[in-house]
Symmetry: C2
């Protein structure tokens, strides 16, 4: 009933080991033999049994994608990354599993260990902010589990994918400046996330380049969530001298800012310009649609996974690739009143 490697071997008149070689793209098989074996596989619709391959070969052909479900409430951003990772894994016949890993509490190393011992992934794709937890990275290295990161905070030793977020932030703030805005506020993300650091830096850089000093009251702490955006905006609107524009460190917070503006009776963009970062689908569904930085999340997931797969397949060491961003100008930003 089930076609086994041995059956293919018999059909192609070679030894099982040779079929195994062909299956695993190994060298030391003559072209004619290889073709004959491939033909037999095709003809018999042979499907190697993953468990047998794993047991004998001591590898799982499994990639695990880790995310922090603490700071990331099932966001669209992650869903897009996941999609890209899956596509990359599929293209090399690896399977993928998705795993939340709460970073809160210091037993996360134990949980990481359990994950590895229970599922034996050959490699791991890390998403922000997990990309930057030193103890976690250390443990992965100790246990010799290769990993690739999406938007890690530093380059050192990391493979995966990045985007020039600081430059992107600077670009969007320059857009506000070009509209005549001077009192531009920033709603920060969770302080130690790379994304927050870069986006804040880009904001400051653009302001400085325009010769403006940033009023400290205009930089408000947020936490990447919708409700933190609402809270931050309320704080800004209570200021004696209100900002005329707000750059929020992500779209969720920008949505919160717009919500709070509505609540306060402020018209966007007439009374207040608002912009975000990420270009989640919601951004173009708001009224007015949100001016934001488009980040090619799906592609980024794919590229990160491909770097990892290069390592897993013994094809190289993997790179840290940089992806382009784009400024999406929509209805939420307008010239200063």
């Amino acid at each position: 009933m089930r076609v086994r490697l041995e059956d293919v071997a018999r059909a192609a008149s070679v030894s099982p080991k040779t079929v195994s070689r062909v299956l695993n793209d190994e060298a030391n098989v003559s072209d004619t033999t290889r073709k004959r074996v491939l033909a037999a596989m095709e003809a018999m619709d042979y499907r190697p049994l993953p468990s047998a391959r794993s047991l004998a070969g001591n590898r799982s052909f499994l990639v695990a994608m880790l995310y922090d479900n603490n700071d990331n409430p099932a966001s669209t951003y992650l869903a897009e990354i996941q999609d890209g990772v899956l596509e990359a894994c599929d293209s090399h016949r690896y399977s993928m599993m998705v795993r939340p890993l709460r970073m809160r509490g210091d037993d996360f190393i134990r949980r990481l260990d359990a994950l590895i011992s229970d599922h034996h992934p050959d490699g791991i794709v890390l998403t922000p902010p997990i990309t930057d937890y030193a103890p976690l990275l250390k443990r992965l290295r100790e246990r010799n589990v290769p990993y690739a990161s999406v938007s890690p905070r530093t380059r050192d030793g990391n493979i995966g994918v990045t985007m020039d977020e600081q430059q992107a932030a600077r670009t969007i703030v320059e857009h506000l400046l070009s509209l005549g805005h001077r009192r531009i506020a920033h709603v920060e993300g969770i302080a130690d996330h790379g994304a927050s650091v870069w986006r804040l830096a880009g904001y400051r850089e653009a302001m400085a380049a325009a010769g403006l000093t940033v009023d400290p009251a205009l930089v408000v702490q947020g936490a990447f969530t919708f409700s933190s955006g609402v809270a931050a905006a309320r704080q800004l609107f209570a200021l004696a001298e209100r900002p005329t524009a707000v750059f929020a460190a992500n779209d969720d917070m920008a949505t919160g800012v717009m919500w709070a503006a509505n609540e306060r009776g402020l018209k966007v963009p007439q009374d207040l310009s608002v912009c975000g970062f990420d270009d989640i689908p919601l951004a173009s569904q708001l009224w007015p649609a949100l001016t934001t930085i488009r980040q090619p999340s799906r592609e980024m997931g794919k590229v990160a996974a491909l770097q990892l797969l290069e390592v897993l397949r013994g094809r190289g060491h993997g790179q840290l690739q940089q992806m382009p961003f784009s400024l999406e100008i929509r209805g939420s930003t307008a010239p200063v009143p």
Copy 2:
């Protein structure tokens, strides 16, 4: 280095087979022996190797969640379902994999076969609208792959989870009626999806119960997407006699309706009441926040997976459980002007 079942057996002074029995919760092990074995496992931090278990036992301990990535652009709804399924699988030490399966084209049976042959899932969780493709269900039965469904269109032979969507739709329309609305429009989802059928039926039922005849022009075709909601709303707004309220078959389309209202200069809820279905996070982030039916998606994913697991673990046949819904009244609905 790695602790094997054999090592546990030695430590507990029993045979490997007995440890295996304990591991698999089989009968025919005395209580004392069982305890001794469990203690040894615990002490040695024994982790069975999935591939060895799969190879010998001919099962993968893998559940695959299938979704149609054609009609479902990485929606939040699916992310929540996925979360619930994952939790259920985790609780029984099963792994989970997520797989898109485009229903377009008639080679999807081939792709389904490949999926099964390549990954050998022990069971499958189906999400709408895949729950209702007869050829797919037939194939799963032929190949003897157990499955459970989230919101299947019919009860017959299905296990998993449902919600009384028709009753829910009726409830939300009754809410509009109680606000004095009479010209209530409905934006339908993709015609042959169960969700569309039920929600439309609930709408008609509520209207009929109120003694109202539905103007055919007030029922507009949509496709569950934001942009289809925009298009449907434009059509409704062009009517000689505009509706005073719109019930869209899901939140994405309701968002589109609100967007189109803004575009047209109509104030929600003063000029137009709008409501949706699902309660995706976005619903409470819009301004005004969207009145909708809350569907406990995460719980539903979990319950569906638990039914499947019951079958996989030989514990029973699984049920089709019904979950409760709730009407979330928010700012997008108000008394008729």
